[in-house]
Every structure is written in C-alpha cells, then in structure tokens.
C-alpha cells in the first residue's frame, strides 16, 4: 500500500532510569529510594503522588503509564521489609515511548482505610486499572470519575485479593496442600459447603431482603443526552445492551451503549464475565505451577504468555537462558503472533459482516502452526512449553523441515492471499477508513500499546525498545501506519505477520545446537526476595508480569499487566460519535481476548 510510513528501526536511546528517578527526588525530597532484588524504585507518599507523576510525565519523558497494581503485605514473610509498615503498596510502572528502555517504578504505601489520589488527570489510562485495584483490594482513589467494581459485581462481599479473604473452597494458603498428602483423603471440594457450591455468604444475610445494586453511571447519566429538547424533531436516546452473550463481542464482553438514532453518545464497557481469579490462584501456586495457568490468559497465544512469565521469573532469579532455547522461544512466540494476527484479521472481518469466509481462510494456516505446536509441546493451544531458564523439550525429528516449509511457502502465500482478498475490498475500505480515530497522543495517554499505537504512527515495540531474548540479532522492521483507524489496525496486523514470518525464517536458519534448559529444572525453588517486572511484546500489546517474592516457594504477588484489558481504556473515546455498527468493528480492531481482559 502507498501510505506505509517508512519503518522506524531506531528509538531515541534507552531511558535514563536513575536520572529520571533523581528528577523526582529533586522535586520531592521526601521520596525514598528502595532497592528490592532486581528492581529499584521510589517510595512516594500518597499526597505527593500527583506531583511525582507530573514530574515524570513533563520532565522525565515518561508518557506511558504502563501498569498500576497493588500488593497486600499482610502476610509477607520475607526479611527485607519492616513488619509494621503500611499494609498496602500501590505500584506504578512508567515508560517512555520515545526512548524505550527500562521502566520507572513508584510505590505508594497506603494503610487500610486510607485513600490515595487518582492518577487519571495526569494519565487517563489509569482509569480501568484503578478500578481493578478498588475492586480487588478495596483501596479508594479520590477523585476517580467512575470508581465502581469492574471484574466483580456491585454488591459483592469483600475485596478478594486481600490476603485475609478466603474463598469457599479454601484449603490452605499454599499448594501443595498439606491435607492432601500424604493422608490423601479423597474429598470433593463441593462437600465443604452445605449447598455444594463455590459460594460463601456473610453472617446474618437474608436472601429475601436482597436488592441488586446496579448503576451504569456514564450511560445512565450522560449530560449530552438531549432527549429531544430544543430540537424541532423530537428524538430520544436509547440505552442498548450488547453482551455478555453476543456474537460480536469476541467472548463474554458487555458494552452498554447510549445511542441517539444510530449514533453512539456514550459507551461503558462491562467486564469480568470471565474473571477466573488467575492472580489469587497464582499466589497459592508454586512458581512453576503458574506456567500452565499463563497459557490460559490469552488463550490464542500461549507461547508468548509463557515467555512473559518466564522472563519475569528469570529476572528475579538471575537465570541465563541457553542460546538454542532463546531461538526456540523466538520461533514459537513469532509463530504464535502470526496465529493471533490471522485470527484477529479473520474476526475483524466477521465483525464487518463478512461472516465466515475470511475467518475460515485466515484460520486455515493456523491449523498448520497448531500442528507444529502440538508436535513439539503436546497440545494445540495450551502449550506449557517454556520453563524458567529454557524450554521444556527439544524439537522432534523433522520439525524444523516442516516449519521451514510452512514459513517459506505456506504462510507468505496465505498472507498474500488475505491481502488480495481484503485490502482492496471496497466494503472493508469504506467501513474501515476514518472509523474509530484517536490521535497517537491520546492513545498513549490512555496507556494503549501494541498494534493499536503502531497503527497511529508510533514505532513503539518492546522487541526493539527494550530487546529481550535474542531479538537484537534479527533483521526486521517495526511497521507503522499513519491514520489510526480501523482499516490501519487491520492492515498493521497483516504487515506485522509478514515481519514475524521473516523473523522465523531467520531464526530457523540460524538455530544453533546446544542445551535447551539451564540448571536442573526442579519443581520447587525459592527465588530471592524482591520484585521484578518482565514484559514482552505480546501480539496484543505489552504483556507484563509483576512478581513479588518473599523468598518462599510461592509468589507473594502475581500480577498480570494484560494488554487487552488496558487497551479497552480507549474503547469509549474511540466509539463515541460513530454509529453503533461501527462500535462492533472498533471493538474487533482492538483485538481483545476475554481470558486476558478478565483474567
């Protein structure tokens, strides 16, 4: 296509993390520098948070607030922390999209019952993440525009990620449970509660008195809703509910939309219909047990999820990965990126109304790649292939030849075919061009990452900005497109899939011999105390894992910075003003997977 911007292959140079932290310290002398394992961070008091963020944004060049999360230090057993400190710590990770490099980390200690100011005036992208912290930890963000539950429902009892909150089938804080072994009594968890269900109720609660509190603030109280006043043609705006069971929402996602005529005037995403408690379960699992659970986050690309988690744990433990394993990781992650982009292109077209045909063509080649995954790891989708310090198994005989044929012959052919079929199609062009526009600055301030901002002309790709694995050895471009509309978001995925094909071709050609796993690969180990944030460029954006270890065999905190979840910040601003049929396509072009959105 004619309007591809010349791919930028360089970034301005890595962010000077120490210097940026010094800037904050200069402005706020009370901020306390702390070192926890591989991470250095600044501890900032709640009332100084906004000032610190402003310094970081305006002087430090950190324009992307990547992740906000919280840790409850109630039962922390490590030695590095004072026992009587504040109970919670809210953690902010910030990056510079222009400079790349490592992140700047801020911690804000907050005690139970205290509140802290919202970051949304400085970084609008804090919106969904602060709601998540409120939902799961019960911390109040003063001034947040819409602080309601997001993954659970209004009226839910308690804040489940708190360390003292236990679910109905609760056994022990850590697996493996002592009660199961060696006594090995065969007990179904259903027998633990009288009603046989995974539920618990507060004392003194009467089901008959219960009223469900449900409010959808932006949609129900939208100031722009005119209700026909002052217009010669009397119209009334209507609230339309899309989902959670809706064929266009890519899973169990719900959009509550206020429309006037056909134009969307307000939209509110509602999620949590697939909230599977990854983080709570992850804190009870051992480090290794979490690996197959990461497969089920973004279930279309288990390989890149594995990598994100492995990377964070390797950072924490200081493990080196053998060269061959690094190459295998690149091959698997890039194949999985191709799978994801094919899948998402097929389903954007589904949303455009081209039911089935493009999707069926697109996922044909996916089957070939899944066959490759299956023969190397044993499963089509839930590969569980990576281990800390390498990969699980070496390639079976004949695998490389088959893969070579797939990436040299079949995939380029299939991508060309999709390009011919779709890119010039008049309907795709009219429905896609100019729809769902947001400027690059807006997208970055909303914390959007991945193909979405590359389709807005920002060459921000972690493989290039903060190279991990052996990505610095391959010759590939970061394609960008200028228009930031649905068409460009479709087309950027095609271009990226082509680049991934190039990377796999080079990786297969240069695949070295040697070990695939460093160390012994046992099943119990204790990473040293500290915290680490590992991130990879997942097919949907920045996939990060924030881990805190207190030196025990289980992660103390296991948080997933899910790109599809945070990209949804942009959904409402992108959709308002377009037709309701465009809302479906705009959602499709964000490319969400509910397993990752809701976790």
């Amino acid at each position: 296509m004619s309007d591809i911007v010349a791919p930028s292959t360089t970034v301005a140079g890595p962010l000077d993390v120490a210097g940026t932290l010094a800037l904050v310290q200069e402005a706020l002398p009370d901020a306390k520098p702390v070192s926890a394992g591989p991470t250095d961070y600044l501890e900032v008091a709640p009332d100084q948070l906004i000032e610190a963020l402003q310094v970081l944004r305006d002087q430090g060049g950190c324009d992307l607030l990547s992740s906000i999360t919280c840790t409850d230090y109630l039962s922390y057993q490590g030695r590095a922390r004072a026992k009587d400190g504040p109970r919670f710590e809210v953690v902010y990770h910030l990056y510079s999209t222009a400079q790349g490099g490592d992140c700047v980390v801020l911690h804000v200690p907050v005690d139970d019952g205290e509140s802290l100011p919202t970051a949304t005036p400085v970084y609008p992208g804090a919106n969904l993440q602060e709601r998540e912290v409120w939902d799961l930890y019960g911390l109040v963000f003063d001034g947040h525009p819409n602080l309601r539950r997001i993954l659970l429902w209004e009226g839910f009892e308690g804040h489940p990620m708190r360390k003292d909150w236990h679910e109905a089938y609760y056994e022990e804080d850590q697996k493996p449970f002592r009660s199961r072994h060696p006594r090995a009594d065969f007990a179904r968890s259903e027998d633990k509660v009288p009603w046989g269900k995974n539920t618990r109720y507060p004392a003194d609660w009467d089901p008959d008195d219960w009223q469900e509190p449900v409010t959808y603030v932006p949609v129900s109280q939208d100031p722009r809703s005119r209700n026909g006043a002052g217009d010669h043609l009397s119209t009334e705006s209507v609230v339309v509910n899309l989902g959670p069971h809706h064929p266009s929402t890519h899973g169990v996602f719900r959009m509550i939309v206020r429309i006037e005529g056909e134009t969307v005037i307000a939209l509110e995403p509602d999620m949590g219909y697939l909230h599977r408690n990854h983080e709570k379960i992850g804190e009870r699992n051992t480090w290794l047990m979490n690996m197959p659970f990461t497969d089920r986050l973004d279930y279309i690309n288990s390989m890149s999820n594995n990598w994100g988690y492995a990377l964070a744990v390797e950072k924490l433990m200081g493990l080196e990965v053998p060269e061959r394993a690094e190459y295998l990781r690149v091959i698997m992650a890039e194949l999985s990126r191709i799978v994801n982009h094919l899948w998402s292109i097929g389903f954007i077209l589904n949303d455009l109304g081209a039911l089935q045909t493009p999707a069926l063509y697109a996922i044909e080649e996916r089957e070939m790649i899944l066959d490759l995954f299956e023969s190397v790891s044993g499963a089509r989708m839930m590969c569980n292939y990576l281990r800390f310090g390498g990969v699980h198994r070496d390639l079976p005989a004949g695998w490389a030849e088959r893969a070579r044929y797939v990436v040299h012959e079949r995939l380029p052919r299939a991508l060309d075919q999709l390009d011919d079929l779709l890119s010039g199609n008049e309907i795709v062009n009219t429905r896609g061009r100019g729809v769902g526009y947001l400027s690059a600055e807006q997208l970055i301030s909303l914390s959007v990452t991945g193909p979405m901002i590359r389709a807005a002309g920002v060459p921000y790709d972690i493989r290039r900005c903060e190279p991990y694995g052996v990505y610095d050895r391959f010759d590939f471009d970061i394609p960008t497109l200028p228009h930031s509309d649905v068409y460009d978001r479709y087309y950027i995925r095609l271009l990226e899939a082509r680049e991934s094909v190039r990377i796999v071709q080079q990786a297969l050609a240069g695949l070295p011999e040697g070990d695939i796993l460093a160390g012994k690969g046992g099943y119990v180990f204790r990473p040293p105390e500290g915290e680490a944030y590992g991130r990879v460029e997942g097919p949907k954006g920045e996939l990060g894992f924030y881990l805190v270890s207190d030196g025990k065999p289980n992660p103390y905190r296991y948080h997933i910075r899910a790109p599809s979840y945070i990209n949804l910040n942009a959904l409402a601003p992108m959709t308002v003003g377009y037709k309701v049929a465009d809302a479906i396509v705009i959602l499709g072009a964000i490319d969400i997977v509910l397993g990752e959105v809701d976790r």
Partner: protein, 245 residues
C-alpha cells in the same frame, strides 16, 4: 474503479473452490498414505505440508495423526517386564499438579506397614489441565500421557474421576503410543539398572570387607534411631486415621 476489489476477492474464493477439488482429486490415492486402520477400518490422516490447503478430517471414520507428544489425560504404567506397577506412591505427581487433581493412597502390607505401592490412585478428569507436569517430574517413569481423547460421558461423578484400574495401561500400550520416548527411556533405564547393580556389588564388596573388620556400631545406632522415629510417625498417622473414620 469501484468494484474491482470485490471482484478480485470473488476470484480468490472461486479459486479456493476449484482448489478444493483439485487437491482432492490429486491426492485421493495419497490421502491415506502411511495410515493405519487400527483394526476398525479407521483411517489416520497425516496432513501433507506441501499441499495448497488442508484435508478435512472426516471424524469418526478418519482420524488425525496425533504426534507422539500429544497429551490429554495421564495414564499409569503397568510394567509387564516385572509384572508390577511402576508407581511407588511417592506423591511427587500430586505435589506438582497445578490444579491438585491427583490423590494417592499408599498401600500397606498385612502388618499395616506402608509399602511403596499405591493402594489407590485417583485423577479427577474434570479438574486436570493436561499440563504434563506429573509426567515431567515422575522419577519412576510411572505416569505418562494418554492419547485417548474420547472420554465424553453422560455422567460426571464418579465416571470422570478415574481410579487406578481405569488409569492403568500395560507397558506395550505406552510403547506403541510413544515409540521414540519409550526407546530413549528403556536405554536410560537399562543404564541406570546397570549402574545400580554395579553400586550394589561394590557395596556388597565393601560390606564384606567391613564385616571382616567387624566394627560398625555407630551407623547401626543411627539406623535404629531413624527406625524408631519412623515407627512413631506411623503410629501417629494410624491414630489419626482411626480418629478420622
């Protein structure tokens, strides 16, 4: 010109339609190449990589060729060479299982002393996430992944909680499903057995030497102390079991 994109797209779909038949006609004799019929007239299809498209697998008459490493639900190995199960009820699989879907009870002999055999072994297939950790960390090659995915049932409980009888398969079954890995494993086991024998012999020789010297009360005392502790622990466990039932 408006409409050329649409026509081009239609051309591609038409080519796909023609290709479907082209592939079919060209490859009909080759379609079942290398297939085995599993004694039931089933055909196993190995998708050729150099084809334009994909072969449709007409399940249940045709099957997809499953790769050796395919994993579904674990199975227990009955070692036909020694005519006993390989599992020693060490419990590592139950420990590493991420969703904790394995329960093992250790068998006891007539005197009530635990022996290294499982009395019972349950896997709850409604929880199992097919992650392969039990296989990966089993030190005795006793638990392996089955390829059988046809497990649908009309009832959940107890049909989908597999007990030892349902899980156990003979070694030959495993050898047929996992030929490469089986061969590697046999080689390793043979080597290990040889080493163990050598060690045993060396130990016996050492013991003979020691016997001649007739002095080794210290280790014996240590041993008896360990034995005593073990007995005590077992007694406690027995009491707890009784209190339970």
């Amino acid at each position: 010109m408006f409409g050329t994109g649409l026509l081009k797209g239609l051309g591609i779909t038409f080519k796909h339609l023609v290709d479907t038949y082209k592939d079919d006609i060209q490859s009909t004799p080759a379609r079942y190449q290398g297939s085995d019929d599993r004694g039931k007239g089933l055909k196993v299809i190995d998708q050729p990589v150099d084809q334009e498209g994909l072969l449709t697998i007409q399940y249940p008459e045709e099957r997809r060729l499953l790769p050796e490493r395919f994993r579904y639900i674990p199975m227990l190995i009955w070692d036909t060479e020694t005519d006993e199960e390989r599992c020693t009820a060490c419990g590592i699989c139950a420990k590493v299982c991420p969703p904790q879907c394995i329960w093992i009870t250790r068998a006891t002999d007539e005197a009530g002393k635990p022996v290294t055999r499982p009395q019972d072994f349950f896997i709850d297939a409604t929880i199992c996430m097919s992650c392969n950790y039990c296989v990966e960390f089993c030190p005795f090659d006793a638990i392996k992944m089955d390829h059988d995915a046809e497990l649908a049932s009309f009832e959940r409980f107890p049909h989908l909680v597999y007990d030892k009888g349902e899980l156990t398969v003979p070694l030959d079954y495993y050898a047929a499903l996992w030929p490469t890995q089986y061969a590697e494993e046999q080689e390793r086991r043979a080597q290990e057995a040889a080493e163990a024998r050598a060690k045993e012999e060396a130990k016996a020789a050492r013991a003979a030497v020691k016997k001649e010297e007739e002095e080794a009360p210290a280790p014996e005392a240590k041993l008896s102390r360990a034995e005593e502790l073990k007995q005590k622990a077992m007694e406690r466990a027995r009491q707890r079991r009784e209190a339970q039932s």
